[in-house]
């Protein structure tokens, strides 16, 4: 189990940033040698995590939300295992304020490491309490009793008490102690099994799974209209014209530059939106830096510099026979691009605001919305309901805040606000563009001696975190909230430090405030950092005249890192690249402390139009103890394909006035004809703690593809995405 101390050490910068914002309980007050997961230390009461129901079933409460990662099944497996229950007798309640533990955000691949492990501890403590209760009642030593199937039995089976009989309507109480005895892993029967996610059957039966499917009695439908570009402000609304053109509107809400429309039926709301959109007049915001090379725009922005790592001396005098290397890499702004545009339902009823939201953090959202509306926090209730996959901080919080504003204007009715496709494409916070200047040196034997990286990035963390200013409508209101930029961002430097043994190293992170709205996108800075680092490693291997596998292994001492690389090599040992094809590999340990993952990409570059076709991706992953191997496989397959789409296709485009990537044609993502085949091999480590895995594939996939493209056609692409026009022969190195 990762100790709290290790957690603090490795993510200290991020933790401090959140503490300054007041969103975290004082983490430093937690005992550093406490073996319990951090979420459990924050919420130590047993009944915060687990309730025993009258019918002997167990209800598990998690502060995380289901976002397609299968967390509900994983936490149910944990409880079923410790309590010897069949999985179908464990019910899971997902994030809801006032109901489940406050686990802040469902983010950072931390749901298993935090929530599922907390449930494991709570269920083990429940088992001990139930055995003690039974021992007292039956007047036998607890050690002679057996607990299974919702009851405690004596060894001879003659006496037995169900959980309900033992508790007689009470709940288990007290804290989950730090000396709780967990079931030995070699006795596990449920954990580690590829059990099915029950919600998939509900999905195929078209059950109401998503917030979009909620139909509360009396629901009214809402649409909003957003400024066309950052900083644009509303000059006026022709409400009379609108009402004449589209009769039947219940409310037209205008507050500053925030415009919302309410109608009893959805089609009326849509017609009103579509009539009004081209007729709204906006003042222009500051011009966006279009028409210039974005890397150079970024380099010229004012930036605050933080030292990420320093050892040895990167400026030491050159030695005889050494080789030096210098390259610049770039990743553009990327979208989360959820398939379902953000949606929320809000009801303002008797002074209390109820919110149904697919936000990744119901507690921080509650605090932020309470401040936005000027309500006490206890008069805001937020319940997590799944939406379409989000892959980070998309429009979920913004749409919830906007629904809340509209519900306040129309109390007593549930307001369902559905963003349009364009709302999501134009107004979600993107993943920041990043720029990397790498300088490295090899000694005469081809060993890396110097690594100097200067990287540039906007923040990767602009979640509301309990404050209203980062909610999209907050800056549009007649009385706006001033946007406060996060001062520190651990996400920028994520995976910037190589795991390779290099004696002299300097990494500096330049934080700028860029032209577009940004926040957390799956893997944060790791995607760009690993793309640069692992492209650089391939270029350096070439300079050293070494095989890329051997070159990496020669600089790696971590046995688990070496093992996933060896496994990826084994997976592809019989794969031969055909004409115009290349194989490329890359490796990273996510956050330098979570899952280890190595990728091999097979890419064919069309000799006619230079399109890079990613044919196949293989990944070897070590995520420590695996709770549900099929869940891990599914997440990793998805990460590979999504990252491949980012790598070869995606880039947010903008002109001087606004973002031009407003739909799926102007922001294409992979379609079924293009996606590679994927294969995942799990390096199982049942004796190790589970490691966060959901974002591990992002960075290595990008570099593996770039490395494969280089072998396929001789062109080294250092600026993502890898579009055909960057692979024309004139781009080839001599």
């Amino acid at each position: 189990m990762p100790s709290r101390r290790a957690f603090l050490k490795d993510t200290g910068r991020l933790t401090i940033a959140f503490c300054l914002l007041g969103a975290l309980p004082a983490a430093e007050a937690l005992a550093a040698d406490d073996p319990r997961p951090g979420s459990l230390q924050d919420n130590p009461r047993l009944n915060a995590w687990l309730e025993v129901l009258a019918d002997g079933r167990v209800r598990v409460l998690t502060g995380k939300i289901e976002i397609g990662q299968g967390i509900g099944t994983a936490v149910a497996q944990m409880a079923a295992e410790e309590l010897n229950l069949p999985l179908n007798r464990v019910e899971v309640v997902l994030a809801e304020t006032g109901r489940t533990p406050d686990e802040r955000y469902t983010a950072g691949s931390a749901s298993i490491e935090q929530s599922a492990l907390s449930v494991r501890w709570a269920a083990a403590a429940a088992r001990q309490q139930l055995l003690q209760l039974a021992a007292k009642r039956l007047r036998v030593p607890a050690a002679t009793l057996q607990l299974a199937d919702g009851a405690v039995r004596t060894a001879d089976g003659r006496q037995h008490l169900t959980f309900a009989e033992l508790l007689a309507g009470r709940q288990l109480t007290g804290e989950v102690p730090a000396d709780t005895v967990l079931k030995p892993k070699n006795q596990h029967q449920v954990v580690g099994q590829p059990l099915r996610r029950e919600e998939i059957e509900r999905m195929v039966r078209a059950a109401p799974v998503y917030v979009q499917d909620m139909r509360l009695p009396g629901t009214v439908h809402a649409r909003v209209l957003h400024p066309p570009g950052p900083g644009a402000r509303l000059r006026g609304v022709d409400e009379a014209g609108l009402r004449q053109a589209v009769p039947g509107l219940l409310r037209v809400v205008v507050d500053g530059s925030f415009v919302g429309l309410l109608a009893a039926d959805e089609w009326t709301a849509i017609k009103a939106h579509d009539w009004l959109k081209p007729r709204l007049q906006w003042t222009a915001g500051p011009a966006l830096p279009a028409g210039q090379a974005l890397p150079e725009v970024i380099r010229a922005l004012p930036a605050k510099v933080d030292e990420v790592a320093r050892r040895g001396d990167v400026a030491s005098a050159p030695a005889t026979g050494e080789k030096s290397f210098r390259a610049t890499y770039f990743k553009p702004y990327l979208m989360h691009a959820s398939i379902g545009p953000s949606c929320a339902v809000a009801l303002f009823d008797k002074g209390t605001l109820h919110l149904w939201t697919h936000s990744q953090g119901v507690y921080p959202l509650r605090a932020a919305v309470a401040k936005l509306l000027g309500l006490p926090e206890d008069q805001v209730h937020a319940k997590g309901v799944p939406g379409a996959g989000c892959y980070g901080h998309n429009g979920a919080d913004d749409v919830a805040a906007e629904a809340a504003l509209l519900a306040r204007a129309y109390p007593g009715h549930p307001v369902r606000l559905q963003w349009t496709r364009e709302d999501e494409h134009l107004h979600e916070p993107y993943g920041s563009a990043m720029l990397f200047d790498l300088q490295a040196r090899l000694d005469a034997r081809g060993r890396l001696t110097h690594w100097h990286m200067e990287l540039w990035s906007d923040t990767h963390s602009a979640r509301p975190a309990g404050q209203p200013d980062k909610l999209l409508p907050a800056q549009l209101l007649a009385k706006p909230f001033e946007y406060k930029r996060a001062e520190l961002s651990g996400g920028t430097s994520r995976n910037s430090e190589p795991l390779y043994q290099i004696p002299n190293m300097l990494i500096n992170a330049h934080s700028f405030a860029g032209p577009l709205r940004v926040s957390a996108l799956r893997s944060l800075g790791a995607f760009g950092n690993v793309f640069a680092l692992e492209s650089g490693m391939d270029e350096l291997a070439q300079l050293a005249g070494q095989d890329p596998w051997a070159f990496r292994l020669a600089h790696l001492t971590d046995e688990r890192a070496r093992a996933v690389i060896e496994e990826a090599r084994r997976l592809t040992q019989n794969v031969q690249a055909g004409p115009n094809e290349g194989l490329g590999m890359a490796f990273a340990q996510y956050k330098n402390q979570a899952a280890y993952l190595a990728v091999v990409a097979r890419v064919w570059v069309s000799p006619e139009d230079h399109t890079p076709w990613v044919r196949q991706l293989w990944a070897a992953i070590d995520a420590g103890e695996v709770i549900n191997p099929d869940g891990l496989r599914n997440q990793t397959e998805g990460g590979l394909i999504q990252a491949a789409s980012w790598t070869v296709l995606e880039q947010v485009q903008f002109d001087q006035q606004q973002v031009r990537s407003h739909d799926w044609e102007s922001y294409p993502i992979y379609r079924f004809d293009e996606v590679p085949r994927v294969e995942v091999s799990i390096v199982s480590r049942p004796d190790q703690p589970p490691l966060g895995a959901g974002e591990a594939a992002q960075g290595p996939t990008a570099a593996a593809i770039a490395n494969a493209v280089h072998r396929a056609c001789g062109v080294r692409v250092r600026e993502l995405p890898i579009r055909p026009w960057k692979l024309a022969p004139s781009s080839a190195e001599s």
């Binding site: 976002i67 379409a388 599914n634 397959e637």
Partner: protein, 159 residues
């Protein structure tokens, strides 16, 4: 436009609805018939989330105006489930292969697959990819979806 009465044939049953004739079928199915299968994704026929079968052919419902549907039979994801509650081979295969992450695009995949298997009992991989071309998936579940359609073809052939 004035609301008009239409008789839609959805999942094997006639339904009388009153709607502005220009209303896209999607909103009638979701809001008047209370169906969850077809989903709003883009409203521009670009993503396939709203896919239904019209006369057995997979077609997006987000721009199909209700007055243009006529008497054509409409099948939604709900309608793939048999009256006895058992699952269509496509639904069975999706569950068996655990082919979903967030599942928001699952409707589009299932409806395109059902339409495909009506025409081609044993499609090859390229045919499957072509049939699913109109559906966007952001979680990266494509590999499993393709395998699930292959599995559905096997189940359909044996069942």
């Amino acid at each position: 436009m004035e609301a008009t009465t239409f008789t839609l044939h959805v999942n094997g049953r006639p339904h009388q609805v009153q709607a502005d004739p220009a209303t896209p079928l999607l909103y009638v199915l979701r809001n008047q018939l209370g169906l969850n299968g077809p989903k709003f994704g883009c409203g521009m026929q670009q993503c396939g989330a709203c896919m239904v079968l019209v006369d057995g052919f997979a077609h997006p419902s987000c721009q199909l105006q209700v007055h243009r549907v006529g008497a054509a039979p409409i099948t939604t994801l709900e309608g793939l489930t048999r009256p006895d509650g058992s699952l269509h081979p496509v639904q069975q295969a999706l569950v068996e292969l655990q082919a979903a992450q967030c599942g928001y695009c699952l409707n589009g995949v299932a409806m395109c697959a059902a339409g495909l298997l009506r025409q081609y009992a044993r499609p090859d991989e390229q045919t499957i990819r072509n049939a699913l071309f109109r559906v966007l998936c952001r979680c990266g579940t494509h590999e499993r979806y393709i395998r699930a359609v292959q599995r559905a073809a096997e189940l359909g052939a044996s069942g």
